[in-house]
């Protein structure tokens, strides 16, 4: 309530220490709550690819090619061709007899090798070959330690994906999401395939709206632990967090500017839910707009010059675009009586949002130029869409029975995935940036 500040601060500090302790405890058994991703609908055409197990790969319990294959297959754009039984097994590009793989229907072949360097490190080499044109498309060498095998596999999958589809691969990215087990909420960060889940915040009060800083080092999120929505920014390296916005009233819906220096937030301190800009350290709060109704759920366009947001200024919730420099606001959605949660796609071509139609909440995508809307999911309670940095996949929260799950859909609507967690209610996914 803003009264009794010193006591509140003390209480906050104590709570933070407890929180850090809990986080330390949690990370020890976090692995059992890992998400697994299932494909539930595939693309029309897939690239048939043969991934030959790397030379010496069997010397390590966690190999490389199994993860590469799983990544590619999960994307829905590839079909794995059995590469077994071809002797001698090729390990280098020049060893590949293309006819062997063409005969099995493969358009692409991956070969490689793993060689211990004697100091604990391993040299991982791979080559991607076009079996139709009989040319080499990519070849890379990595020197890594066994704990880095998984990350190396994701990197290799990224290279293959990019060479064969023309779009950046997102297998090396991370996702954040919120889990709920009874009255226990956790903000979890995991690899894009669901592995390595780490709880970075745990609380007995709801957590929501995680948002990645563009450089992937920090997360902004909303916590109700202070009996009201307060926005925090937390470093992933140190676990330290600071209050971004804790003004009178509610503080919510953080969205990072592409430069990572400022965020848009929704504050009610001056009455109503209104959009503000604030520096990433919580200083310099500045009102963006004045509307008689709700303005919230801001999302920066990739050039940082405009904000998409949801507003009921026209009577029903619709999506608008604010030109930050000129202050000009333009309505973007006209079909349907309820369109919210806009997220600008990183390719700058349009935005993903949530539409309510006939009582069902569904994820949809709209193109700026054509104004064409494609509804991508069926509901009934789909929400919180987050777009992969290559603009090709959307992860969102869905309701399955009485349980919250995460699901994925490609922006063309063809590939559908379900992310299954063995234990908790999962919600509020946020796709992290490309790791460079």
């Amino acid at each position: 309530m803003g009264m009794n500040q010193p006591r509140n601060r003390l209480r906050r500090t104590v709570r933070l220490i407890c929180l850090l302790f809990v986080v330390a405890l949690l990370s020890s058994f976090a692995a059992r709550a890992q998400l697994t991703i299932e494909i539930v609908g595939g693309a029309g055409t897939t690239v048939p690819i043969a991934i030959v197990p790397f030379e010496n790969e069997a010397n390590w319990p966690l190999g490389i090619t199994g993860i590469v294959g799983a990544d590619l297959e999960r994307s829905g754009l590839f079909r794995l061709i059995d590469a077994g039984g071809i002797a001698p097994r090729p390990a280098r590009a020049e060893d590949v007899k293309f006819g062997d793989y063409r005969a099995r229907g493969a358009d692409a072949v991956v070969v490689g090798s793993m060689r211990p360097l004697g100091d604990g490190r391993v040299e991982v080499r791979f080559a991607l070959l076009d079996a139709v044109k009989q040319t080499q498309l990519a070849a890379m060498t990595y020197v890594v330690t066994p704990p880095q095998f998984r990350a190396t596999a994701h990197r290799i999958a990224d290279v293959i994906y990019e060479k064969l589809t023309g779009d950046a691969g997102v297998f090396s990215t991370r996702i954040a999401y919120i889990t709920r087990n009874r009255a226990r909420y956790e903000l979890v960060v995991a690899d894009a395939d669901g592995s390595n889940p780490q709880a970075v915040v745990a609380s007995n009060e709801p957590l929501l709206s995680p948002a990645w800083a563009p450089d992937g080092t920090r997360l902004a999120y909303v916590s109700l632990e202070n009996k009201k929505p307060v926005v925090y920014v937390q470093s992933l390296a140190t676990g330290q967090r600071q209050v971004l916005a804790n003004f009178r009233g509610s503080n919510s819906a953080p969205a990072w500017a592409p430069d990572g220096r400022r965020l848009a937030v929704t504050l009610t301190k001056d009455g109503g839910s209104q959009l503000f800009l604030i520096n990433a350290d919580g200083t310099g709060v500045q009102r963006l707009l004045s509307s008689p109704g709700i303005d919230t759920e801001a999302s920066f366009t990739p050039d940082g010059k405009a904000l998409l947001f949801a507003s009921d200024r026209g009577g029903t919730p619709q999506i608008y675009r604010l030109n930050i420099a000129t202050g000009v606001v333009e309505r973007l959605t006209f079909e349907g009586g309820h369109n919210v949660s806009p997220r600008a796609t990183p390719d700058g071509k349009g935005f993903v949002f949530v539409r309510r139609e006939g009582g069902r909440f569904m994820v949809a995508i709209q193109d700026y130029a054509t104004r064409q809307v494609q509804v991508l999911t069926q509901g009934p309670l789909d929400e919180s869409p987050s777009i992969a940095p290559n603009s090709k996949l959307i992860i969102y929260a869905a309701q399955q029975g009485a349980r919250g799950i995460l699901a994925g859909v490609s922006t063309d609507g063809r590939v559908k995935q379900r992310l299954v967690s063995p234990a908790a209610d999962v919600r509020e996914p946020a796709w992290g940036p490309l790791s460079r």
Partner: protein
């Protein structure tokens, strides 16, 4: 905005008429209410027909601890809303008015109004909808005499449902504004 003022005037007028004769019903006791001996200010649990009426007087004349009295109308803390609506229905206006008058009479008191929604809709938009409900309660209280500085409005959106069910009766219970006094 205009709708609010008109609504509030109607409420004020109704309250003014109906509360005649009860203004002096309650002796003002400036002491912390011991269990069972708190000033009842005329509102009794059995007096259903007069409960709403006496509430007005309770708020206007009670001391700064009356909100701790479980028998007072001030023990009523929830205002319920229809789906996608922010209008305070007539049946809850007496409650809001009692708290407003009580705040007016006790300027040192502070409250938080917590807005809530049902589970339908997106999380962040529901935070904004819950806020609108809390703000509606605050606006009516201000028209009825409470001061802006006494009332903070916050929203839990759909994050803290009182009832976890997925049916209309659960949803109705969760579309709510709650009045919480500082220190509670």
């Amino acid at each position: 905005m205009r709708k609010w003022i008109i609504g509030a005037l109607v409420v004020a007028a109704l309250a003014g008429c109906s509360s005649t004769g009860t203004q002096d019903a309650a002796p003002v006791e400036e002491r912390p209410p011991a269990e069972g001996t708190a000033p009842t200010t005329g509102a009794t649990t059995s007096g259903a027909s007069t409960a709403g009426v006496s509430g007005t007087a309770a708020g206007a004349t009670a001391g700064p601890n009356a909100h701790k009295d479980p028998k007072s109308i001030l023990a009523k803390r929830s205002v319920y809303f229809d789906y996608d609506q922010f209008v305070i229905k007539d049946e809850y206006k007496a409650t809001v008015e009692a708290h407003a008058k009580y705040l007016q009479a006790n300027r040192g008191l502070r409250i938080i109004v917590q807005g809530n929604t049902d589970e339908r809709g997106t999380r962040e938009y529901n935070i904004a909808l819950g806020q609108k409900r809390a703000d509606a309660v605050k606006k009516l209280m201000m028209v009825l005499g409470a001061s802006e500085t006494q009332i903070e409005t916050v929203s839990f959106g759909k994050e803290k449902p009182r009832v976890e069910g997925h049916d209309e009766s659960s949803w109705a219970e969760n579309r709510r504004g709650d009045i919480v006094y500082a220190g509670e």
